[in-house]
């Protein structure tokens, strides 16, 4: 096999030994949006042996400006992001094993995946999921790397269990999603800057160079030319319910899981059936064709447009209702379709 990694092996902190270590590691990337695709591409190019990438969404035209693994064809066919990502990652480097997960990452799913992996990369778009990641990472004592961005601003922090404060220590209470939704838009360089920090920290963890970890929280605004790096070690709280002396993992309790979720920054509600099911899109297609709405079926999803609302049905039973933030309205549209 050709050696794709010669230049990286010349980089002394990684070297031949580090390269072997990278090839034996398994990284979990939660989210295949802007942060997820950029993290995945760099980690695969760096020679990480196994990647599991999970996302509940499908590729939309508005993603192409910054979600680097996708092309027009994926948006045209509304390909689930995890599937489109896997295809591109395999083309970039066939030596990596990519596991794709199309669907929601609930507590149950996290319990299945996390024990298998060496590191968790946060590439989600909401605090609720991040707090779940934070708890599960503490539970299994895995390092996870927080990253987030909006506009031209971004930040990152590496959470090392039993060493650094966790996200719960830093945040206290969960910030309301409304204040964090990206109505301000996003430029691609802000994504790439966050990812540069995440991937470098990931490489350090994977080759075992813990000494080199940044240990500070880093934030920047590329448009305003601001940069900051803050030592937050004093914020580690002994009484933290996620990482403190008495660990309760509050976000892993089943009752904190919701059936409906309003997706951040978009006029979209996700409805997830209580029990996992397999939806026969062919049957649904035939039923919906008899209604006044417009139906489009791709190999992966079924789209149903009714007036200003668009419903997208997935094979795993989930439905995204676009065009409303109102959970009640979304449910009634959903019930009109599937009864």
């Amino acid at each position: 096999m050709e050696d794709c990694f010669s230049r990286q092996k010349l980089f002394a902190p990684i070297g031949e030994k580090g390269q072997v270590k990278l090839s034996q590691k398994h990284v979990f990337i939660l989210g295949a949006g802007a942060l997820g695709t950029a993290n995945a591409e760099q980690l695969v190019r760096a020679g990480v042996g196994q990647i599991t990438i999970a996302d509940r969404d499908y590729v939309d035209w508005s993603n192409l400006q910054r979600q680097q693994l996708y092309a027009e064809e994926d948006a045209r066919n509304a390909v689930p992001k995890a599937i489109a990502a896997k295809k591109r990652l395999n083309a970039i480097h066939s030596g990596a094993t990519i596991h794709e997960v199309v669907g929601d990452m609930g507590v149950e799913e996290l319990h299945e995946i996390i024990p298998e992996v060496d590191l968790i990369i946060d590439a989600t778009d909401n605090f609720e999921t991040r707090m779940k990641v934070n708890d599960i990472a503490q539970f299994y004592k895995k390092t996870w790397i927080y990253g987030a961005c909006v506009g031209s601003y971004g930040l990152s922090f590496t959470v090392v269990p039993e060493k650094t404060p966790c996200l719960h220590c830093l945040l206290g209470v969960l910030p309301s999603e409304g204040a964090t939704c990206d109505t301000a838009g996003i430029i691609s360089p802000a994504v790439q800057m966050v990812v540069a920090h995440q991937v470098t920290e990931a490489m350090k963890v994977l080759v075992g160079d813990y000494e080199a970890l940044r240990s500070k929280i880093v934030s920047f605004d590329l448009w305003k030319n601001e940069f900051s790096s803050v030592d937050v070690s004093s914020l580690k709280k002994g009484a933290c319910p996620s990482c403190g002396e008495i660990q309760q993992y509050p976000y892993l309790k089943e009752d904190s899981q919701t059936k409906t979720t309003v997706l951040c920054g978009r006029d979209t509600v996700q409805i997830r059936p209580m029990e996992t099911m397999k939806r026969d899109l062919e049957v649904l297609n035939r039923i919906l064709l008899r209604t006044s709405g417009e139906v489009k079926k791709t190999p992966y999803v079924l789209m149903y447009q009714q007036g200003p609302y668009r419903l997208v049905f997935f094979q795993d039973g989930r439905v995204l209702v676009h065009g409303t933030k109102d959970v009640g309205k979304a449910k009634s549209l959903y019930n009109q379709c599937v009864g």
Binding site: G31, F127, C149, L171, P175, D231, V232
Partner: protein, 67 residues
């Protein structure tokens, strides 16, 4: 007064005297931001009581959910 925020010189209006005023000035909520004043983190509960002075160095890190 003039202070340094995230490495940049900033002229503040007279109404800004405490950390909490500064957060208001930037439209930030106390529970979403970590404040460092002259290299020491200021506890969230003390934002309203902590004065800022001319020449202070402040770092503000606010958490966002996007990605």
């Amino acid at each position: 007064m003039t202070i340094q925020v995230n490495g940049k010189q900033i002229d503040l209006p007279q109404s800004v005297n405490h950390i909490s005023d500064l957060l208001n000035h930037y439209n930030l909520q106390s529970n979403q931001v970590i404040v460092e004043l002259n290299q020491a983190i200021v506890d969230q509960k003390l934002h309203a009581d902590t004065q800022i002075q001319n020449g202070d160095q402040v770092e503000l890190v606010h958490f966002v959910g996007g990605g």
